[in-house]
Amino acid sequence: MAEDLVRMERINKFFGRVQALDGVNFSLARQEIVGLLGDNGAGKSTLIKVLSGALQATSGDIFMRGQKVDMRSTSDAIALGIETIYQDSALVTQLSIARNLFLGREPIKGPPIFSRMDTLLMERVAGDLLKRVGIGKTIPASTPISSLSGGERQAVAIARAMHFDSELIILDEPTNNLGVAETHGVLQFVRNARDSGHSCIFIAHNIHHVFQVVDRIVVMRRGRVVADDIDPKTTSVADVENVITGDIAGVAH
């Protein structure tokens, strides 16, 4: 079996006396698309925040490419090739699309002390990326984020993950608040991601969206992983819904 890209072992997370994660084991192979499902409060977001460095686990280990890693911040996670796209996509609304795409990793030119951002390069690359996520025709890359719709903002966040070639892209409710065409674009992006060598963790409330794109479904309930090997090709949506709500114990497939 191929070496896992990510392996999380016995992850516990307490918020005060509330246990949000209870001995969670989770793994993800290279070029695998995993759907992470669960009701509100099941612990999906907490697990993802631990993996993206936004929260530290109370106990447990995380391995990237077989190496134990210690993630103290989101920049540690980004350096390891983990890119997270949140529900409220983390963009600076005052800045332009191009400036947001390259924030923290601006290409520069000119002599060292007086170096400046390579604005032309940034806007050209941003323009190409916007075309790939399907909003490039109407919106120039110099537009500030504040004048974009929710779906367009999501597309910008996705464009950023694509450009920086993160090995693992985590999409936390990426299709919320999106129109039909935009949702279609996001799902298409996830399908393409595997072909271009990325792994994805896809979190969504809409089970139908998940079924369309993932290789494997993991279900969480009350801080535990209750099923981690559901094949969307052989399982019905109704069965998965039952696992999520806890109507039947275990997985039948």
């Binding site: 989101t74 920049s75 005052q94 924030l103 520069i108 170096s115 719709s149």
Partner: protein, 343 residues
């Protein structure tokens, strides 16, 4: 007649183009301040032509650039979402420290100058660390620092001004505020320091990646941190920059006026913040403009000068300043809302 007239279609297009150009110009945050500045010049000149006399212009410029140095640094700090109330007290304290060290025979003037800037940098560092590490709002931190620094200046000097001139022809004084004449214009070297600082900081804010980080820090610190921008370091550096610029401005002013008064600079913090926000920089951070600040600096200083020249009692000055601030804030917020709605 019908031949010469352009078709209605062409007219519409021309009007639309002209409209969008105008709309873009009006939407720029510097547009309002620019119009106000031009208006100010026109009104004062119409009432009293001496307003644009060579003597008056060079007099107005002299002090304007000293206060302006602080406003330039404050623009970057406010773009990053913080502000500094201790700038006025540093403006008074730094020259007091420098002249005390020099007059006491402890060190040469240039070394004392460097020492006072370093002390200012440390004060800025403390401001920054209190704000970023202890998460105390900058209003409270810098208000406390204002009192500490002003109190120190008063205590050290017993409240008396320091002697500033025990040796003529200091090279440092010539570099900082040496004056010379260009034709009838009396020019102080400080205007070159101001121009250099405005160009450099404007370049940093709009062209460099640090400018991108500053705007992101003020606009959405959570997002900036998620992209690996060290938000705290950005803020600390800008607190240090603002403190050093205030000290620098204070030293320049004390050399020019041959006075180091521990009380000088009182109230400058609010005037400087007013200059910055009038120019279009957002008090809440995320958006800043050096060009706007330069306009804001001149709007307030020209107002102070012009009011006296046209015969309004100087005591009424604050009424006009307050009205300008309220008017410009209303304009900026209106533009902001219209911009947000027009998507």
């Amino acid at each position: 007649m019908a031949d010469a007239a352009p078709s209605p279609n062409e007219l519409d297009q021309a009007r639309a183009q002209k409209g969008s150009f105008l709309r873009n110009a009006i939407a720029a945050p510097e547009f309002g301040p620019f119009v106000l500045f031009v208006l100010e010049l026109a009104v004062f000149y119409a009432i009293n032509p001496a307003f644009l006399s060579v003597l008056n212009i060079s007099n107005t410029l002299t002090f304007t650039v000293e206060l302006g140095l602080i406003a330039l640094a404050m623009t970057l700090l406010m773009t990053a979402g913080e502000f500094d109330l201790s700038v006025g007290s540093l403006f008074g304290f730094a020259p007091v420290l420098m002249w005390t060290l020099y007059n006491g025979g402890i060190m040469s003037l240039s070394v004392a100058f460097v020492v006072s800037l370093v002390v200012a940098a440390l004060i800025g560092l403390v401001n920054g660390l209190f704000v970023t590490r202890l998460k105390i709002p900058s209003f409270l931190v810098t208000l406390g620092m204002l009192l500490v620094v002003r109190g120190t200046a008063l205590f050290v000097t017993d409240g008396f001004p320091q002697r500033t001139w025990s040796a003529g022809g200091q090279w440092l004084a010539n570099i900082l505020v040496g004056d010379f004449y260009v034709g009838p214009f009396r020019v102080y070297a400080s205007i070159f320091w101001f121009a250099a600082a405005a160009i450099l900081l404007g370049y940093v804010l709009t062209q460099s990646k640090y400018g991108n980080w500053i705007q992101a820090t003020g606009g959405n610190p959570v997002a900036a941190r998620a992209r690996g921008v060290d938000v705290n370091r950005v803020k600390v550096i800008l607190f240090v920059l603002t403190a050093v610029m205030s000290a620098f401005a204070g030293v320049i002013s004390s050399i020019r006026t041959s006075a180091a008064n521990p009380n000088s600079g009182s109230g400058y913090e609010l005037e400087v913040i007013a200059m910055v926000v009038i120019g279009g920089t957002a008090l809440t951070g995320g958006r800043g403009t050096i060009l706007g600040t330069v306009l804001g600096i001149f709007i307030l200083r020209v107002m102070r000068n012009g009011i006296v020249l046209i015969g309004v009692p100087g005591l009424a000055y604050n009424i006009f300043i307050g009205a300008i601030i309220l008017g410009m804030m209303a304009l900026h917020s209106w533009l902001e809302r219209r911009h947000q709605a027009g998507t």
